[in-house]
Amino acid sequence: MKSFEYGDGEIGSREILYAVSSVVIGVGIFTLPRTVGSATMGSDGWVSILLGGLVALLFAWIVAKLASRFPRQTFLEYTATLVSRPVAIVLTLLLAIHLMQFTAYEMRVVANISKIYLFDRTPVEVIGLLFLLVVVYAVANSSVGLLRLNLLFLPIVLFAAILLLLMNIGYFEPENLKPVFSTKWTGYIQGAKETVFAFLGFEILLIYIAMANQPEKVPKAAVIGMSIPILLYSFVFIMVVGVFGRTAMIQLVDPTIEIAKEVEVPGQFFERFESLFFTIWIMTIFNTASLSFGASVIAIRSVFPKIKRIWLVFILTPIIYLSGMAPPNLIRNFEVGTWIGYSGVVFAMLIPAILLGIAKVRGIKGNA
């Protein structure tokens, strides 16, 4: 009997679906057309995006399958049953560090781009701090609230994305898509690798599925949630290539923001669509950052249950802030992004696959 559906501190499969989409849609899309376009010829990048997307989809399913095999158990608990408690503690803490770095990176990219396009004179450090403080405010409260916020934000963000695509139809030149299928297969693989990085973030499910009330529905929700960014990114890529052509696209630092700058709406009111678009996009980056920060807080508290949530948040915030602000310039920051991509591959793909393999082989199942 559900007398008060939202008061129970649990989440349904719908929250999982929205969480996966929200956490994956983030800063990756800004640079994705450039990185994928550099590896592929013509407009073939969409093949790479679908390819990379399929890989991400598969592993999102594995993550969800693994976590839902142990209903209402935390990552620490089920990992401990699979690979002894000390190993589980190390893995949990490493996962928490990875998620913190992920948060820091998102914060830094938001600050960088805001600095360039919105706030010319505000120091990057201040923009980053303000963004992080809002994230902290969200994370300091319950995780369920955090997850439900996605239900509110994601539709607005998707609306902005669709608006971006529609408004650029006038600038779309089909000739720019040619030549098709002239990429070597190594190019597709290289492009797919770049794409996989942009689709990371679903490793938060390892943490959040413990709160799901219908774990058996979670894998399906994760797969659907994952498909939304895959489709969105493919469409955005095709649009960007069609508008700029590959040659110019790969020279733009953030092609997806430049495409918003391309738009000229008659009537002067929305003349600067990029500010509007980027402001809305910050909402989904906020979701990405707060979900991964929240997940790392939960992970650390599962190891040290005695620390109060709010204190833990206050301890972690300066660490996240400083590591986010550590790279001195844009190119170093991109390097950091690549490293976080690699550690994401480890935590979102390698470890869940191994753990699920162990669970299958040894036939371990959580008691529902």
Binding site: F119, K178, A248, E271
Partner: protein, 413 residues
């Protein structure tokens, strides 16, 4: 109640401490609507900076002119005349300021020393480059700032001035308050202007072109009293990105036909001993067929289809009863289009030997393998482009003859 007071003081703090770091009041922004770039002349006393031998110097010194809006002048409803370079008399809706510098950015910042409102670029509409600068091959150097700075937008239209660029910004249009906005409006007239109005070029598109080795064209603008005239194009060589020559008149229409970009505009044909005017409706459709088996002699066939109406008929024709005449008219219009296209081909292929039609692009998109082998010698070196054979076929459909059949009886019957 101290606790309420405590809360109240927090509230007051929130209200008064909130703010915006980047706040610039709209009154403090100097909206730039147009910019013009010339070379600086030695004798011009506009340089405000001190000379220094040790400071790095660029290859050229530029004279940058910005057109800034005077919001007061916009609302007063009057105020025409005056407002030449460097001067702004009361009542004008704009003023032009010029400064000399080695880089665009330095020059803009120098201008900031002299104007009360700091230059603000996102509303810039046009960028005009002088012919001299265009011919020198420094175009990419100039464009860089207008692309790289995040304040700039890729929709700025770029034009080459026949003569000095800043003179173009000094025209005094009769029905518009801002010359830059006036020029911007003229470029939008593509549907109801003569077909010699070249398609406008956005600075973002120019960026795409500059990144390749393609040769290209940029529209020409020249001041004519109180007005400007936009017509003709300047042809740029794609490797050095320097201007080579002008192209005007029928050649521009021919080029537009070859590129499939012709939109409207009158085409006159002679029927009997009188003229009939045809207007294409909607843009024409162009198809290229290529036979590239022989690298030394590639064959390209342009098939152009146009649909339109008769808008003026000095020759009296009974349109409703005379289907053969329609056929004849269609053929004559097609021949005229073919003539203009072939004239443009002669000029581009045999005289300038530069491919601004976009055939290289066509090959790159449709024959990527072949393109890699000819890319290096396309419109330079061995110049495969000038060795190619280009055919034009035109097909015209006249949809209707207007709302009147005959305006006078057919003579001689």
């Amino acid at each position: 109640m101290p606790k309420t007071l405590w809360k109240l003081s927090w509230l007051i703090c929130i209200v008064f401490l909130g703010g915006c770091w980047d706040r610039v009041e709209i009154e403090e922004r100097g909206f730039v609507v147009g910019a013009a770039v010339d070379f600086s002349k030695k004798d011009e006393g506009m340089a405000t900076e001190e000379k220094s031998e040790e400071r790095p110097h660029g290859k050229q010194r530029y004279l940058l002119t910005l057109q800034m809006v005077v919001p007061g002048g916009l609302s007063q409803g009057g105020g025409k005349g005056g407002g030449g370079a460097g001067a702004g008399s009361g009542g004008d809706a704009y003023y032009n300021v010029s400064s000399v510098g080695d880089t665009m950015f330095q020059t803009v910042r120098q201008l900031g020393n002299r104007v009360s409102r700091s230059p603000f670029f996102p509303h810039m509409k046009i960028l005009i480059i002088s012919e001299e600068v265009a011919r020198s091959g420094h175009l990419p150097d100039i464009i860089d700032y207008f692309l790289r700075d995040a304040e700039m937008r890729r929709g700025v239209k770029i034009m080459i001035a026949n003569g000095e660029a800043r003179e173009v910004l000094g025209v005094n249009p009769v029905n518009e308050k801002l010359p830059a906005m006036y020029i911007d409006s003229v470029t939008r007239n593509e549907r109801s202007s003569s077909s010699t109005l070249p398609e406008h070029l956005r600075i973002g598109d120019l960026n795409e072109i500059l990144l390749t080795q393609e040769s290209f064209t940029i529209p020409r603008i020249k001041p004519a009293g109180n007005e400007v005239k936009i017509g003709g194009v300047s042809v740029f060589e794609g490797r050095k990105n320097s201007m080579v020559d002008w192209l005007g008149g029928d050649d521009v229409i021919g080029l537009a036909i070859l590129k499939g970009k012709l939109k409207g505009g009158a085409i006159n044909i002679k029927v009997g001993d009188n003229l009939v005017s045809y207007e294409a409706k909607g843009s024409i459709r162009r198809k290229i067929e290529a036979d590239v088996s022989d690298k030394e002699n590639m064959k390209f066939t342009f098939t152009v289809k146009s649909e339109g109406v008769i808008v003026e008929s000095m020759e009296t024709i009974n349109y409703l009863k005379d289907p053969e005449k329609w056929e004849l008219l269609q053929m004559k219009v097609a021949d005229e289009m073919k003539r203009m296209a072939e004239q443009a081909i002669r000029k581009l292929q045999k005289e300038m030997k530069l491919d601004v039609i976009g055939l290289g692009n066509y090959l790159e998109q449709n024959e990527p393998e072949l393109w890699k082998t000819v890319e290096k010698d396309w419109d330079h070196g061995k110049n495969y482009f000038s060795k190619a054979t280009l055919h034009v076929q035109a097909k015209v459909i006249i949809r209707n003859p207007g709302v009147v059949n005959q305006t006078e009886p057919i003579q001689g019957r």
